[in-house]
Symmetry: C2
């Protein structure tokens, strides 16, 4: 299992809506995450900076990246785009973090 | 299991040393983490900002906090203090992040 961590950037005053939408994450999105090998997925908010930190364990990087090509994920990006810093295709701007320590 | 995430602050030009020391983490420190209910512990470095992100699953918050009172952990703090932003007792300055999403 690969442990991934990455940053995303929430717009000001969007924390409540972001959290509410994730609490009601579409069942089809949950299914896509699982069928693409994503496990133990958490997102944390840094309330000082509005930076979001994702942590997810994935079976393979390639399989995980395939999520981006699914219609349901594109629909989710469009839905979330007003709340976040996004790229031209509405995907969230995402910066990977480097693992420097692990203890099982 | 409680999923905790927190920020710590690395000093400039200390990434290599920080990582090397964690790769050689003292067996006594590993033992203390495990005996205080810590599991699946990762630390990630944000190379843009020198911020460290800890992610750890703990059995109880109280048990986890007890680590701070152990002599070996104090020794570890003293050893790591030159590399990090620390409090008066050499504990690393640590800011908790708020969980906003989880999918098993």
């Amino acid at each position: 299992m690969i442990r991934k961590a990455f940053k995303m950037y929430l717009n000001p005053r969007c924390a409540k809506t972001y959290e509410e939408r994730h609490q009601k994450l579409w069942p089809e999105m949950k299914e896509v995450i699982r069928s693409h090998g994503g496990h133990n997925y958490s997102i944390f908010l840094d309330e000082d900076t509005n930076v979001l930190y994702g942590y997810v364990e994935v079976e393979s990087e390639e399989k995980w990246q395939e999520i981006a090509k699914t219609p349901i994920n594109k629909k989710w990006w469009d839905y979330m785009a007003p709340l976040m810093r996004v790229n031209a295709d509405n995907s969230p701007v995402q910066d990977d973090l480097r693992n420097v320590f692990y203890l099982s």
